[in-house]
Amino acid sequence: MWSHVRTIALVFLHMFRKRETVLYPEVRPDIPPRWRGRIILSRDPDGGERCVACYLCAAACPVSCITLQAAEDGQGRRYPAFFRINFSRCIFCGFCEEACPTYAIQLTPDFEMGEYDRQNLVYEKEDLLISGPGKHPGYNFYRVAGLAVGGKGKGEAEGEAPPVDVKSLLP
């Protein structure tokens, strides 16, 4: 009996508490930078595409929402001829970001992707590509990779010693 009266009194006192609700469109929620939201493709600091079209993201994707086609330019750099993410399938698990060897594909804190037309949720490469390096500034895959690519020969990458001619060591 008295516990009921106490309950009623305590509930009544909640009138003077602060409300927990975040009034969303007016008040923006504070979203952490590691939030797994809209997927983007980043560029390296020189402005080139980071994606090397290795298909690892497409292979890692549990719902198969990533489609791409590899191509190669004249200088030996690989790039995706097209890169398509179907966001109506995407579950924002972030496996693609983990799988990516070049930090190209990244998830961002943007979650406002509502569309009236389902077809608008299919993002093409030009929708995905951003102009900056995203979460990893200063990283350039081709500059640290040992691969010979247009303008950069073997052994010219950062922190890489010039190639040793093993045959010259012969007595």
């Binding site: 009921h4 509930v11 909640h14 409300r19 927990e20």
Partner: protein, 316 residues
């Protein structure tokens, strides 16, 4: 009173009851939200007031579906009964001097009779739905409402004895010196509990307990037929609040403000209290509710009558 004035009062009371019932939905949602540290509906119109209108448009335009296994005529008639009986009961409530539909010498009895007839709505709905959840809900409703009807009637008898009349207007006028909530504290508590049970509001919403019975007696109802039950419930809560105001809190009596405003203010505060009950108390078990009613409240109500009668007898 001229004929025009009578018509004005009748339609005014009916319209006011319906509008207040609709606003109750908004008030309840906002207050529950307030007590749960939320906001509730606050988007449509000022303070979310037009939410009720939007919900009404929605519920009226919904598909009105009668299940093929239902007893069709009874199924269709049941939701109307509750609205009709509750609205009829408004006729005897004196809102202010001169503002009442009919001045009945048996006003209290008429109110009790009408709220008893409301049971038919629930039990017929439960029966006609031909669904086990609806039937269990209907059965619970009969046992609960008939049981609590008894204590409700008995708890009012103290007030009737003090006022010496069944006429609600005379009961209000008898409270000029002292509101009956003071000499009849026990009667008030029993009437409030019985009123909540009678209108099967939370925490005594066992006939429609969502967590046990889907939606109880109105499981199979949709669209405006469900809306009628909903409307009946909110009309009922306003009716019970108005009756408590009339019987125990001196009706329209009060200084400074106009009588009608006093009545509205008191009724409003009691409705708020009912919503607070809903916000804070859990639903009792069914057997507990029945045992509690018959073994505790009924003897208490009888003791109340006995003591009130004894004191009156000795005092006069």
């Amino acid at each position: 009173m001229g004929e025009l004035q009578i018509l004005t009062v009748i339609f005014g009371v009916a319209l006011a009851a319906l509008v207040v019932a609709a606003l109750n939905i908004w008030l309840e949602r906002r207050l529950l939200a307030l007590w749960q540290d939320r906001y509730g509906p606050n988007r449509v119109g000022p303070f979310g007031l037009l939410q009720v209108l939007a919900d009404m448009i929605k519920i009226i335009t919904k598909e009105d579906w009668v299940p093929p296994f239902a007893d069709r005529p009874v199924f269709v008639a049941a939701p109307g009964i509750v609205v009709v009986t509750v609205l009829t009961a408004y006729a005897v409530i004196p809102f202010a001097p001169g503002i009442e539909v009919v001045r009945l010498d048996t006003g209290v009895l008429f109110f009790l009779a009408m709220s008893s007839l409301g049971v038919y709505s629930v039990v017929l709905a439960g029966w006609a739905s031909d669904s086990k959840y609806a039937l269990i809900g209907g059965l619970r409703a009969v046992a609960q409402m008939l049981g609590y009807e008894v204590y409700m009637g008995l708890s009012v008898m103290g007030v009737v004895m003090l006022a010496g009349s069944f006429n609600l207007r005379e009961i209000v006028e008898a409270q000029k010196g002292l509101w009956f909530c003071f000499p009849q504290v026990l009667g008030l508590v029993i009437f409030v509990i019985a009123g909540v049970a009678e209108m099967h509001r939370l925490p005594f919403d066992l006939p429609e307990a969502e967590s046990e019975l889907v939606a109880g007696y109105h499981s199979e109802y949709s669209a405006m037929k469900f809306g009628m039950f909903f409307l009946g419930e909110y009309l009922g809560i306003t009716l019970i609040s108005a009756m408590i105001t009339t019987l125990f809190f001196g009706g329209w009596l009060g200084p400074w403000l106009p009588p009608l405003l006093w009545f509205a203010l008191k009724t409003f505060l009691i409705i708020v209290f009912f919503i607070l009950l809903r916000a804070s108390l859990p639903r009792p078990r069914y057997d507990q509710l029945m045992a509690w009613g018959w073994k505790l409240i009924l003897p208490l109500a009888l003791v109340n009558i006995l003591v009130t009668g004894g004191i009156l007898l000795a005092w006069r």
